[in-house]
């Protein structure tokens, strides 16, 4: 198998990472200066810099000017989590997707929701409740509030063909989002909607979406715990293997 030449910065990065992983370089240890590594690999300092900068971004080393680079103290691990669109997630499992809107009404926001939307309590907002099915089995219950001050068109939007999340993604694709993950017991209503038993554990994703400091929407996405498992992916891989 002819292997394409690995970029030098990746080679340096991976070899450093290996040394960190196998314990040759331990937390607190100093990493050689960029210039010295550049000599060792016979490359430019910028190339070494990129390698070590990426390791720093991924949390493996810590850098300080003049002080140099040290292996970071281990323990806390940063991983990458991808929150997909429900439809994608379902179709990737080889199941067919459909959804139904159980409720769609303009309501006064209760305290907890108002806080999440950053509006005064009692401000009118669009409340939505949907179920998303994977091959006709309930997969996700979505309870959503949309800030009509930010997205007034939502009030008369039609969610027969397109689900609220995808509709919102169209209107402002890359708004800023904050996510929280937790576990809850299903209440009677949630249980019957998701076709599980009351008190069954649910995996909950909360999402708050902003644009320019103002909240667009707040959603709770509830999944039957028995089916649902979220996977975190690592940042970098030593290609050696």
């Amino acid at each position: 198998m002819t292997t394409r030449p690995e970029p030098v910065y990746l080679k340096i990065k991976n070899e450093l990472l290996d040394r960190i992983r196998n314990g040759e370089l331990r937390p607190g240890d100093k990493v050689e200066h960029e210039e010295i590594i550049a000599q060792q690999y016979d490359c430019a300092r910028a190339t070494v810099h990129r390698a070590i900068r990426e390791l720093a971004e991924e949390g493996y080393v810590e850098r300080k000017r003049r002080a140099g680079t040290r292996v970071a103290s281990a323990g806390t691990r940063a991983t990458r989590v991808t929150i997909p669109l429900v439809r994608q997630e379902i179709e990737e499992r080889g199941a067919s997707y459909r959804f139904t809107v159980l409720e769609q009404s303009v309501r006064e926001t209760p305290q907890a929701i108002a806080e999440n939307l950053g509006v005064e309590r009692g401000t009118k907002a669009l409340y939505l409740r949907c179920v998303h099915f994977a091959s006709d089995i309930p997969f996700q219950l979505e309870e959503r509030w949309i800030n009509l001050e930010m997205v007034p068109e939502a009030e008369h939007a039609n969610f027969d063909q397109i689900n609220p999340n995808e509709w919102l993604v169209q209107s402002s694709p890359y708004s800023e989002a904050a996510h929280f993950f937790s576990a809850q017991n299903a209440n009677a209503e949630q249980a019957s909607t998701l076709n599980v038993l009351e008190n069954d554990a649910l995996f909950v994703i909360e999402r708050r979406t902003h644009l320019g400091g103002k909240a667009i929407t707040y959603a709770q996405l509830l999944h039957p715990g028995a089916n649902y498992r979220m996977t975190a992916k690592n940042f970098s891989f030593s290609t050696k293997n």
Copy 2:
């Protein structure tokens, strides 16, 4: 307030991100070529390259040679999750930390565990069960298996002063880890240990740790759902604000 001059690559990155966020650049739209942007900002192409490369790593744009750069189709969002050491997590909440080892024994691995450890079913491994307390309230129940083929010292390690996770982190700080998140109902034993009711929802973190393709340990970290909420952090911020 005298503000230090923003690096050019960040200025470019943030201004592009703003254009993507506010909808001026929509998914599928082409971003100007690096050389053109370099002219606009009167900087080198390498500077533009870094700005756009970071946007690509964070999932905002997609790049192809010759084809150019396009705003990525929105929807799936990548976020960063940090899994801290229990002790840190508890102390950061201003609570005092202590833990107790409920069980520590060498056992034959059952099927499910053997799969996670990548060993033959029935291989001996160290089984550990610990509770971690936040100001004397049970915070996390840890059920762990350690592969003694990889870490034989663990068999006679003393977990009175240092908890198993921190002990393992010392022995191989930056092994590779895979994480999974899910929700489970507490069984009777878990419930009494965590001082919650049977069937209460638990937030579960599973962690599988490898080194050079071989599993070191597999752990389930169970948290009472009522207390626990995991927060995902975004990658980049437009500094404009």
